[in-house]
């Protein structure tokens, strides 16, 4: 019984290598709100409605892609880290994985619910930005914590 939707184990390391710098860049972006000048370029957009340029669909637009790049890197890194097979992905690990995922979805939406009720205005926009990434973040944290606990439990038994 092996999960077909998981990636090979080697992607986990690659995932971390992408995820860690992307997280640091992401935090810098949130704190500083900067955009690198040289990252302004022409890209293809399904749809765009920037304030000055007006609405455009299925056309080339000129825009700054700092956020796009960091967000993409973060998502790719997080997906690889989250959904690469463990070295020994057996039924017990699979169970831990699924229960961590369930846990992450619960926690994520409970936090979102709290934010919905108690956060208003522009700050809520900020919440929505975080919320794009929190399911993956919570899942990765929870799953790896459980794996760590297991390894620790095994270490002191014969």
């Amino acid at each position: 019984m092996s999960q077909a939707l998981l990636l090979p184990h080697r992607y986990k390391k690659i995932g971390w290598i992408i995820l860690i710098p992307a997280t640091i860049l992401g935090i810098i972006l949130i704190m500083g709100d900067f955009e690198s000048e040289w990252l302004t370029t022409r890209v293809f957009a399904f749809f765009s409605d920037e304030i000055l340029a007006g609405k455009k669909s299925f056309s080339l637009i000129t825009t700054n892609v700092t956020n796009t790049l960091v967000g993409t890197l973060f998502l790719v890194g997080a997906l690889l880290t989250a959904f690469a097979r463990e070295k020994h992905e057996d039924e017990y690990i699979e169970k831990q994985r699924l229960s961590s995922l369930l846990w992450a979805v619960w926690v994520n939406y409970l936090l979102l619910l709290l934010s919905f009720i108690f956060i208003y205005g522009m700050a809520f926009l900020q919440v929505m930005i975080y919320n794009m990434f929190t399911v993956l973040i919570i899942f990765i944290a929870r799953f790896n914590y459980i794996l760590y606990q297991n390894r620790k439990g095994v270490a002191d038994e014969k």
């Binding site: 463990e86 020994h88 057996d90 039924e91 017990y92 297991n150 439990g153 038994e157």
Partner: protein, 66 residues
Amino acid sequence: MKNNIRVERAIKNLTQEELANMVSVSRQTINAMEANKYVPSTVLALKIARVFNKPVEEIFLLEPGD
């Protein structure tokens, strides 16, 4: 459900690691079963019974709450 994997393992003089390799799971899985934190799949239960050369019911036992 409880089990006597630990006892059977001692009789056969196997470490968790060795048993884990014989039924191709991780050592954590054996450890979790011995600690009654994990109920194995039927496939794994049958594999473990085969290692110890006993019927499944002699290794895995139902408890009143099951």
